[in-house]
């Protein structure tokens, strides 16, 4: 076995999130840019491979949100094999897997990455403002975070079956159902998980309500919002049609079949960034950008179909008198609304005997092109493929949630720079605030080079002639 692995060209594309703050002649902030090095080699890498392999391959490359990519690819491949509607058992098993993923991802983000900011304040020393600090001061919360994540992982394991070869979702269905024993194991812990989720929701809500003035001044800007939506207007994280609303809640488009997403959404390339900037075509690239993720989903849905989360949604919307909430810090509260919604959905599913059904896979007439969409923890995830008659993928285009949130994150960083940069010197306080603003969006930034809970950021202040006036990194 080789100990040394040589994959450097691939790891090299993952670096720091770089921020450049631009000043005018009077040393006032005009703009700030967040440069994320996005990996786009996958689209080429997958070309020529058999289509049925894709849901598994992409899951192995994207180990941070493997289930979302796995399911988005599988949903596209369902259409490739001619299946528009799965069997009830297959669809419900996939939903269980997806809610399990949503639950563990939101719990990880909240307890391990964001709770230190909320519990200790943005300005607290980074030596304390991390999960170890939380474990010392709030030991029960730290334990809950670990246990909730573990529960979500258990669900994923039980829905996915054997890891190697054909994990979980396969084109046209699923490769296993949920046994009675597995169901009972999950049911045993369920009530405890629901209680803990409500506790986390309360922390996020209380924080936002108590710090509303700060939240209104912190990275607050109007935007459009995009999400999948169920036919009756309910939040649906696994399947639906596309809805986009403007900052006031007016519908830009609604119930759009996502197979034709490219008629509504386009991607702009800007010379300073590797990451594209998606926008709503009818509005144009200047103002057509939009937010995705928990905030967009809660803002854009008409209701949530589980009681505790729906009650929480109403409380959230009441803060802005029923209009969309455009606060970046609103992401934390809405993420916890979705945490509760996910565990409520898990409860519904575990009590549904369809999960023990035997009808797992369907087959239909082969097609050549398909789009798979899912609401991943961080937002809408697009997978688009073309497959030739030899079953090889010939085209692949992905729009990941972090890409859709590219412009919003840039706006958030600009807002923070304008407010917190005084003079030309980058202070620890500025770094902290930039980090907190980006973290609200839970971006898939580089993983490998990350120090404990600290975002790998490099911030530069640049004057209008391009001279670097100051430069600092977080690690």
């Amino acid at each position: 076995m080789t100990n040394k692995i040589t994959i450097e060209p691939v790891t090299r594309v993952e670096g720091h999130g770089k921020v450049t703050i631009h000043l005018d002649d009077n040393k006032q902030v005009t703009d700030a840019k967040l440069h994320i090095v996005e990996f786009r080699g996958f689209e080429r890498f997958i070309q020529g491979r058999p289509f049925w392999e894709v849901p598994v391959t992409i899951q192995r490359l994207c180990g941070i949100c493997p289930v979302s990519h796995h399911l988005a690819a599988a949903k596209a491949m369902d259409i490739i094999v001619g299946v528009d509607k799965l069997t009830p058992t297959a669809e419900k098993m996939r939903r269980l897997m997806h809610y399990g993923q949503m639950f563990q991802s939101h719990a990880l983000h909240f307890f391990h990455l964001c709770s230190p900011d909320l519990l200790f304040g943005f300005d607290a020393d980074v030596a304390i403002r991390n999960v170890i600090g939380v474990a010392e001061k709030f030991p029960e919360l730290a334990v809950q975070g670990v246990m909730m994540r573990k529960y979500g992982q258990e669900i994923i394991k039980m829905t996915a079956g054997k890891k190697i070869h054909g994990t979980g979702a396969i084109p046209g269905g699923i490769n296993k159902n949920l046994s009675i024993e597995e169901r009972d194991t999950l049911l045993k812990e369920l009530d405890q998980q629901i209680e803990w989720s409500k506790g986390a929701l309360k922390i996020a809500k209380d924080y936002t309500v108590e710090h509303l003035e700060l939240a209104k001044e912190f990275a607050n800007f109007d935007s459009n919002h995009l999400t999948l939506i169920r036919e009756d207007g309910a939040m649906d994280l696994y399947h639906g049609n596309l809805r986009a609303i403007d900052k006031d809640g007016n519908k830009i488009f609604d119930q759009v079949n996502y197979q034709g997403y490219h008629e509504y959404i386009a991607e702009e390339v800007r010379d300073w960034s590797y990451m594209k900037f998606p926008f709503i075509k009818s509005i144009g690239n200047e103002d057509g950008w939009y937010r995705v993720g928990p905030l967009a989903r809660v803002n854009a849905c008409d209701f949530i179909d589980t009681p505790v989360a729906e009650e929480a949604r109403k409380e959230f919307m009441a803060v802005t008198n029923g209009k969309p909430n455009n606060l970046s810090l609103g992401y934390h509260w809405t993420r916890m609304i979705e945490l509760v919604h996910s565990i409520e959905k898990i409860k519904e599913l575990l009590n549904d005997s369809d999960l023990q059904g035997e009808d797992l896979v369907l087959k239909g007439e082969r097609r050549e092109e398909a789009v798979g969409l899912i609401e991943a923890p961080r937002g809408t995830l697009f997978h688009h493929y073309k497959v030739n008659e030899n079953d090889q993928v010939t085209m692949c285009n992905l729009i990941v949630s972090t890409t859709s949130n590219n412009e919003p994150m840039n706006r958030a960083v600009s807002g923070v720079a304008k407010k917190y940069l005084s003079g030309v010197e980058i202070t620890e306080g500025l770094l902290n605030h930039v980090e907190v603003a980006i973290r609200a969006y839970d971006p898939c930034l580089s993983c490998a080079t990350h120090a404990l809970g600290r975002m790998p950021l490099e911030v530069k202040v640049v004057d209008c002639a391009g001279n670097v006036l100051d430069k600092k990194s977080t690690n």
């Binding site: 692995i5 691939v10 080699g41 670990v146 994540r149 190697i164 080079t449």
Partner: protein, 80 residues
């Protein structure tokens, strides 16, 4: 999209913190989410936290994929 390259856990220090290695650089890793990880295991690391422990077979499969991707990059570089 963001990639998850498996990192090898090379040691666990006295305080329970892990040391992982990727291409000659070592990183400090929090192991609270993977309590049964031991030196020699491959981990998926996100934001400084080991979020998944891979068995050998799965780690090999993944490293093979990343090597394939590295090769694609190398070929592209040569072609330029």
């Amino acid at each position: 999209m963001c990639l998850a390259v498996p990192m090898k856990l090379t040691a666990i220090d006295a305080t329970g913190k892990g040391v992982s290695e990727l291409e000659g650089t070592t990183y400090s890793v929090d192991l609270s989410l993977t309590p049964d990880a031991k030196a020699g295991d491959y981990l998926i690391v996100h934001a400084g936290f080991a979020i998944e422990k891979l068995d050998q077979e799965e780690a090999d499969e993944r490293l093979k994929l990343f090597e394939g991707m590295a090769q694609m990059y190398a070929e592209q570089d040569t072609a330029k």
